[in-house]
């Protein structure tokens, strides 16, 4: 490999990891809800979309694109997180909780329904035409390393993504509610009998999962500034593929799956053709479902007797 192609490779690597950490954030939301409720929360991608619009209106309302910087970034993140948490918990309360005892298929179809409802409500409320996300972090080259440009956006995404995932790990493994979440995920009925308020744990899971989607939506908005009410569809499905790839229900799996998907997409775009970008995610899904349905880090599910 000569120097320029090595540079190119590293550039793709950086881009891929940065895209991958965004996938990972959304995938974590899918996987957490699945772990607790065995439900693929199809409305998750729309929560992410609403987060982007919450940040957009906050940025526009406060004129934050005139004052870029970390303060502005924090304001957008906060707005997206708050709105997404409220939306996520509301969806759970109104749409999923009444079906807690219904067959799993009913609640899955409800999730699809909520997803469509939000997509089309979004088109009515926000308008169907794309909007330009406020540029609160100027994408400049921070430094060059042997010809490789390291840009401020990629650094921001990586730092935010890493901090959030470390925080999540801490939450799940070193707090009371995290222990309760793991217990509910392992066996809901028994967790109840051991004095855990399962409904509270479920609500909390939706708060966390939706917050992660909110954070991801801001990062995506910065990287691909065109947002519209249908933006969640493709991105959400890809993040879902990342969750399945890593093993749905497994948190490290979602992170790993996200990074693998981001990297492979970037490599496909870089070395083959951007036409294959979206086909890749679904190709991966098919291969995973064929050869390792439980994913890379997922546990083999045993039939419960």
């Amino acid at each position: 490999m000569d120097q320029s192609s090595a540079q190119e490779f590293i550039q793709h690597l950086i881009n891929g990891i940065s895209l991958g950490s965004i996938y990972a954030l959304i995938a974590l939301g899918y996987t957490m809800v699945y772990g607790i409720l065995q439900l693929i929360n199809f409305a998750h991608s729309e929560v992410y979309m609403v987060g982007a619009f919450a940040a957009y209106y906050t940025g526009k309302g406060l004129g934050l694109d005139q004052h870029p910087g970390f303060g502005a970034l924090f304001a957008l993140l906060l707005a997206a997180v708050v709105v997404c948490s409220i939306l996520g918990v509301t969806i759970e309360r109104l749409a999923y909780r009444p079906l807690r005892k219904a067959p799993k298929l009913n609640i899955l179809i409800t999730a699809i329904g909520v997803s469509l409802l939000l997509q089309y409500s979004g088109q009515i409320i926000f308008g169907a035409d794309p909007k330009l996300f406020p540029e609160v972090i100027k994408d400049v080259t921070v430094f060059q390393l042997g010809g490789v440009e390291v840009r401020s956006l990629d650094i921001t995404i990586l730092v935010v993504g890493t901090l959030v995932m470390i925080g999540l790990h801490f939450l799940v493994h070193a707090t009371k509610i995290g222990t309760a979440m793991r217990a509910v995920s392992s066996n809901t009925m028994v967790a109840r009998l051991m004095g855990i308020n399962v409904d509270q744990v479920i609500s909390f899971t939706f708060v966390i999962g939706s917050s992660l989607a909110g954070i991801a939506s801001v990062l995506v908005g910065l990287k691909y500034p065109k947002i519209d009410p249908l933006m969640g569809m493709l991105f959400g499905i890809k993040a879902f593929v990342a969750a399945v790839l890593g093993g749905i229900g497994s948190l490290p799996g979602a992170m790993l799956g996200g990074v693998i998907l981001g990297l492979s997409e970037e490599m496909v775009v870089g070395y083959l053709s951007s036409t294959y970008r979206d086909a890749l995610a679904f190709g991966i899904l098919i291969v995973i479902l064929l050869f390792r349905p439980s994913g890379l880090l997922g546990s083999q599910t045993r039939e419960k007797v």
Partner: protein
């Protein structure tokens, strides 16, 4: 008279056309050790599931310390001091042995998420207390050395003992044990029965014990209830039960 911990009145559980339990009455006072026995399929586990609100009884009333379970949220049952183990082991399989026990103790801790995030003294005090208590309980059942293993990987007998430890960690006043000796050999069973008698004394527990094998409960129970085809067919002291012709017929069949 000591406090009534658990009271079932005219409890009935119907699954479609099958009546699994009918007219079940039970009064359990603090400190009592009662055996619930009966042949396979008599409805013993269904009774447990109704008593612990895993199932909602079709008819009748279940009261825990005078509170009607219909008015309770499922997780509040454990708060009132009742807990159980399962016939087919139901551990949090992918959690460590220690975490299994800690989960059960969470309800008695007082630190909030904010305490944990800010690492306040209360976080450390409560976490340390929780862990210490869990290890003490594990030690009673000789599991302290396995605290950090994944619970699903333990040998069968140890998983059974861990279930009892986890139940004890909820700080119960009444514990329902569903065939705790199932799958154990004779000496293991004897050992377990001794431990049950001991924890009952040390923790001032009332125990309701399901057992398939009649001989087994005779040694430790003061009172025995015999269930057959969902109906109580006899109730009394072990010696009364042993000589009861209806019970013998239910276990051995009759010559018609």
């Amino acid at each position: 008279m000591s406090e009534v911990l658990l009271e079932a009145t005219n409890m009935k559980m119907q699954f479609g056309g099958l009546c699994a339990v009918d007219g079940f009455n039970l009064t359990l006072r603090s400190g009592e050790l009662v055996g619930l026995i009966g042949p396979n399929g008599a409805g013993k586990t269904t009774c447990f599931n109704c008593l612990t609100s895993v199932y909602k009884p079709t008819e009748g009333v279940v009261k825990i310390r005078s509170v009607d379970t219909k008015r309770l949220r499922p997780w509040q049952i454990s708060k009132l001091g009742m807990t159980r183990t399962f016939q087919n082991i139901r551990l949090f399989r992918d959690l460590s042995v220690l975490d299994n026990v800690i989960v059960a103790g969470l309800q008695h801790t007082r630190h909030s998420l904010l305490d944990s995030a800010l690492r306040t003294p209360r976080h450390f005090i409560e976490e340390a207390r929780l862990k210490e208590r869990a290890l003490e309980l594990l030690a009673i059942f000789n599991l302290q050395d396995k605290a950090h293993l994944q619970s699903g990987g333990l040998p069968y007998g140890e998983q059974r003992r861990l279930e009892i430890v986890r139940a004890l960690a909820t700080e119960p006043r009444l514990i329902l044990l569903d065939e705790p000796a199932a799958g154990m050999n004779h000496s293991e069973t004897e050992e377990l029965m001794k431990t049950i008698a001991k924890i009952r004394k040390d923790f001032h527990l009332a125990v309701l014990l399901i057992e398939h094998d009649m001989k087994l409960v005779m040694g430790i129970c003061e009172r025995i209830i015999v269930l057959d085809h969902g109906v109580i067919i006899a109730e009394g002291t072990p010696s009364e039960i042993q000589s009861n012709p209806t019970v013998i017929a239910a276990y051995l069949g009759t010559e018609d």
